[in-house]
């Protein structure tokens, strides 16, 4: 083996000009030996392939050439048509829903007549529920049991606190974990938060339930904690058990931060 052969093997070539996976040994004729043996059409073919390969290599070595990995589907037409199809399907479902369940319009605004249950639209139930936390508003014993702030302000601040907690999330939870099993603690916080949003939504209508209103209020705070603990336990078990073993390879594959 000569020096040039070793160099050729160590060189990382992406143009297909390498020796492939089988290392050449002494019995295998070199390219120059083959070239000398061949004549006629095969010789011409060889010379043409040499030229073509050379041309490719020159193109690759041009400064404007960027070599890319094998990529996904082309944007046009595959991705575009697929996305248009998905979008049309979704808009179609939306129109179907609109045709199937048309909205009603209740009686016109009447400041003189208060409805029995005052509620916002459904996506604000949790926020409205936060306004119903007046029994948590601390009373100051020194001031004769008076409250420092009004119950309504307390509820508004609770809304602000919820949005603030959501906003600072990426500054609290660092790291590269991407799946609930990898971070059972944060996943359980999330599940607790989701359940809390539901239980808070029940507070504005707690009087409508056939049991004592205090039970609904207590459940609003106990159920999220129970849900969070259950989630934590389940994810810890999954992490210790087969899921972790199954995916250990991929945890190790991830480059260190």
């Amino acid at each position: 083996m000569t020096d040039t052969d070793t160099d050729a093997n160590n060189d990382v070539r992406t143009d297909g000009s390498g020796t492939g996976i089988v290392a050449p040994d002494d019995e295998v004729p070199t390219w120059s030996e083959r070239k000398e043996r061949t004549t006629g059409l095969s010789r011409l073919t060889y010379e043409y392939f040499e030229r073509a390969r050379r041309e490719d290599q020159d193109l690759r070595q041009e400064s404007s050439y960027i070599e890319r990995d094998v990529l996904g589907f082309p944007a046009w037409p595959h991705e575009t048509i697929r996305n248009l199809a998905l979008a049309s399907f979704f808009v179609g479902m939306l129109l179907f829903l609109a045709a199937l369940l048309p909205p009603t319009i209740e009686s016109p605004a009447n400041p003189a007549e208060t409805p029995s249950v005052i509620l916002p639209d459904w996506y604000l139930y949790w926020s409205f529920g936060l306004l119903h936390l007046e029994s948590l508003n601390p009373e100051l014993a020194l001031a004769g049991g008076e409250k420092i702030m009004s119950d309504q302000l307390y509820g508004v601040l609770a809304n602000g606190a919820v949005f603030g907690a959501i906003a600072i999330l990426p500054f609290l939870n660092k790291g590269s974990a991407r799946r609930p099993v990898e971070e059972p603690f944060w996943a359980s916080i999330g599940v607790g938060g989701v359940i809390f949003a539901f239980t808070l939504s029940l507070l504005p209508i707690e009087a409508m339930f056939p049991w004592d209103v205090h039970i609904t209020f207590d459940m609003a705070f106990f159920l999220p904690v129970i849900g969070a603990i259950l989630t934590y336990a389940v994810l810890k078990t999954m992490r210790e058990g087969y899921m972790y073993n199954l995916n250990k390879r991929y945890y190790r594959l991830r480059p260190p931060r």
Binding site: F73, L95, I105, E106, P108, Q152, P170
Partner: protein, 264 residues
């Protein structure tokens, strides 16, 4: 022989040294004349550029690269929620623009004019009931999709390190979406609208120092009336559409630049 460098852009000389037929010559002369004035070459370059951009291939995602699709395919529907919110937003914008032709934000009269216009859209206008239904459902679906989108981002850790800005933008967009809905369902001026507006006014007033100023700014007074409806209407059809559209464009632009964060 002259020492002066040959002018490579002397198209006349280049034309003269070629042996061309009359048609070829007049075609080239015309082309050069036009190109001198209109820079056709630049537009050809733009076209070429566009060709390559249209045929651009999206890079492989993490799961494709490491062949993990057999483990994560069940996540994929959750990855469509962001686009669903956008689609619902577009549908709501189009149907809302049409509704705007027939709606008038006025509380005048025994039965408020705003309420009457909604009733007339539903009863008198061809496809009016459907139009209102589409607008309402698009709004409901958008809010639901935005909430679920946030949950997906939370549980797949997609808000983490390089993506903090987009998470914050998303929180702002979530608040604005809810505000969009709030200002929207106040517009029919029915019982739901009035008493939900009442909650809003009382929330604003309860804040010390700036509360009354804020109530006057947002609701046009400390009690509900024509100014409230006027302000909600302006917020819903003029202020929020521009702000939210710009922020959505920024939000998606950042996702485009940073790529989607898939679970590893």
């Amino acid at each position: 022989m002259s020492l002066e460098r040959k002018d490579e852009h002397d198209h006349g000389a280049w034309l003269a040294e070629k042996d061309l037929s009359l048609i070829e010559k007049s075609y080239l002369t015309m082309l050069i004349w036009l190109d001198r004035r209109l820079r056709l070459v630049d537009y050809l370059e733009l076209l070429e550029d566009m060709y390559y951009k249209i045929n651009l291939q999206m890079p492989k995602s993490h799961t494709e690269q490491y062949n993990l699709d057999n483990k994560f395919w069940y996540w994929y529907p959750l990855y469509a929620l962001g686009s669903f919110s956008l689609l619902a937003y577009i549908v709501a914008a189009l149907s809302g623009a049409l509704l705007g032709f027939y709606y008038s934000p006025s509380t005048a009269g025994e039965t408020p004019v705003a309420y009457q216009t909604i009733e007339s859209i539903m009863a008198d206008l061809n496809f009016g009931f459907m139009l209102r239904s589409i607008h309402r459902w698009a709004a409901q679906v958008m809010v639901a999709a935005v909430f679920l989108h946030m949950l997906r981002v939370y549980f797949t850790g997609a808000y983490k390190e390089p993506r903090e800005v987009n998470w914050l933008l998303g929180v702002v967009l979530l608040a604005l979406t809810v505000l969009f809905g709030y200002t929207g369902y106040l517009l029919p001026w029915n019982q739901l609208a009035f008493w939900a507006g009442q909650i809003g006014v009382e929330m604003a007033i309860s804040v010390p120092i700036v509360g009354e100023w804020a109530a006057n700014l947002l609701f046009g007074g400390l009690s509900l009336g024509q100014p409230t409806l006027q302000r909600m209407y302006i917020l819903h059809v003029f202020v929020l559409p521009f702000v939210v559209t710009a922020l959505i464009a920024l939000h998606i632009g950042i996702v485009w630049m940073q790529g989607i964060a898939e679970p590893h």
